[in-house]
Assembly symmetry: C2
Homo-oligomer: 396 residues x 2
């Protein structure tokens, strides 16, 4: 018989998806060039040509039976070794191939990491603003998600609220840095303080608390900065990564879980992911894609457009009078709306063909997200429209 | 804290995988050419060159942002339409794009189909001999698997045992035809009788019973025959497919669930699969792979080698004196072992570098499986070894 739980979920359509579909429909009316669609976090720059070349080379020269054959259930060992060595080089870690579990993007990585270190009923804490898909990921693992209120000064961590939320049922803290939707890059100070609290609470509760660190935007950091590597600060860290943003391959579903070698039962977690994979039907990402990303392991797309767009928007928003924290990375900016009801604000903007996402589904009210992974020309053309909208609707 | 359920699963290594690893290790000692490795169901023929060409063409000419962008959450609509039209043409069905949910192979398809039409605690029936990975798929959905004893005369369905096993808690019957490991192709008579019983039991129990039909071997049928299409016989059918075998792409993880338009709530099941996908981290198969299989929708690899190998082995086995049902399809054959303990039989064969899989994990005792997706030359060379093994060990 049809499953009533999943049937009941059919009503709930994502706000982002709804707005994106509106933008597409509106585009067919007035030309998509005239819709200032800041709804969707879909990379706007192509994958590097070296990726395309690596794939074509493999398709032209490799034995197809081997190239497209089953991946070993814990991933291609050579790809895992290459990933481990890259992380070791870049972040001073000491991963081996056995600490890397290739997955179908960050969604697959989070699904495995959460199942590996929670049991049904456990509590998972995350920090607002947060990516709303954390709900199905956490609930799919049988755990429950509690959202810690935001630090609205800087979108780092509201430590007072965090300490108030911690309790012995918490077995995972889930972070996302650089952050969707705020663009915040958690600083070394933030990560150090977070790690200190987690270590103290592990001792107090007498059980492990795992840090699951969701890092698909790791390579998109502005002003020449870098994202401090969370696993470097805290032993019980599972790092979830995707090449969706850094290589502009969201549709190819390729990422990994990296298990900190100093985590409790570190050597068991990748084999456990292999077991988890059987029940979810995950059974490894594409074998050829594992090889391709390994071949260009330290490369990225040309990500500079995101910084260009961020600077244009940040300057325009602040000069208009918006209250906005300058993003340290990602391709999102998260200004305060000009009225308390972010939804009302975004509905008014829509009348100007400005597609902005209200903040409520990210766990804070009164803000909006702009995904500026769009052409710079469109960003520039949107600014006078934004100015007119704010002037006409709010008299600014 | 580490999940004890998944940790406990770490001990249980698959017999097939263990034998395959032994074969590889033995190959490094004596040369893999001298190991008659019948353990693993990994296709031995290359994908068609048209697949390679389609992929290279897309990589060379398509806009990479579009090619590698996020797939719509219910799959690429154009790929879904092409799949639907192909099934309609071939099997006289009336699918639309909205009845097709692209998945990461048959494993992904089964994971979604099972969750869509069971609730935790439901009973799923399958027929021995069966693919042992059905356990994690069914248990991952929270249901429980009951195995109906085999029809050892023909490896069709043991209907007496099936009727005895049916009870009101059964909400899914899971079939696999052509069958791994027996090679049986369920006949129209079998499917018609199965459908009749299911319709009667639906009426008697007052609830739906879904037929989930796992069909990755659909295109590998011998003697010019075809697999009668199970959904044609029974309305409440979810068809699970993979291109792993027909296009020799097991590592690329591409398949689908097709929902019979006459099933209960048929229009809801694909959208429900989209919801299920969020919690498992599945989130669509590769976007480029969806397009590629659609481009060569009615093609297959050159699958004729499997029939050549089957005939060689069937003739050899019967002339040696084995009791064996002639396979109608797949690349498996499933003879009766020469002693009651199939494991002991296979261990003796291993001494002759004949790698045979004992039948116990397939839900029947006293048989063994040979996966003859290997070079025909090796099949030929294995026959005198098989003869010598049987002569020396069993005096046949």
């Amino acid at each position: 018989m049809i499953n009533e739980t999943y049937k009941a979920m059919l009503g709930g359509k994502s706000v982002i998806r709804t707005l994106s579909e509106y933008a597409t429909a509106r585009g067919t009316e007035i030309g998509y060039d005239n819709v200032f669609d800041y709804s969707l976090g879909n990379p706007s720059v192509p994958c590097p040509s070296s990726f395309t070349k690596a794939m074509i080379d493999m398709y032209e020269t490799a034995d197809p039976v081997a190239l497209h054959g089953y991946s070993p259930s814990l991933g291609n060992p050579e790809a895992c070794r290459t990933i481990a060595e890259s992380l070791n080089r870049r972040f001073g870690m000491d991963y081996t191939a056995g600490h890397i579990f290739p997955t179908t993007g960050a969604a697959g990585a989070l699904a495995h990491a959460l199942r590996a270190v929670t049991k049904p009923g456990d509590e998972v804490l995350t920090f607002a603003p947060y990516f709303p898909e954390y709900h199905p990921y956490v609930e799919g693992a049988g755990a429950r998600l509690t959202v810690v209120p935001a630090d609205i000064e800087s979108f780092q961590i509201n430590f007072a609220a965090f300490e108030a939320a911690l309790n012995p049922e918490v077995t995972v803290v889930l972070i996302n840095t650089p952050n969707n939707p705020s663009g915040a890059v958690y600083s070394a100070e933030t990560l150090d303080r977070l790690a200190g609290i987690l270590r103290a609470k592990q001792a107090e509760y007498g059980h492990d608390i795992f840090l699951i660190s969701d890092e698909p935007y790791r390579e998109i950091v502005f002003d020449g900065g870098t994202q401090p590597y969370p696993a470097k600060f805290y032993d019980n860290t599972l790092t979830c990564y995707s090449w969706s943003k850094s290589l502009s391959l969201p549709g190819e579903r390729i990422g990994y879980v990296a298990v900190n070698p100093r985590a409790t039962d570190a050597e068991l977690i990748v084999p456990m992911c292999g077991q988890i994979s059987r029940g979810t039907g995950h059974n490894c990402p594409s074998s050829s894609m594992q090889l391709a990303v390994a071949k260009i392991i330290d490369e990225t797309s040309d990500l500079s457009v995101y910084e260009t767009n961020m600077n244009l928007l940040y300057d325009a928003l602040t000069s208009i009078g918006f209250d906005v924290v300058r993003p340290g990375g990602t391709f999102y900016i998260f200004p305060k709306a000009l009225e308390a009801d972010a939804n009302a604000f975004c509905m008014k903007a829509k009348e100007y063909d400005l597609i902005l996402v209200p903040s409520d589904s990210f766990g804070v009210s009164g803000y909006f997200r702009m995904a500026y992974c769009i052409d710079t020309d469109k960003v520039k053309r949107s600014i006078p429209v934004l100015e007119r909208f704010v002037r006409e609707e709010y008299g600014l």
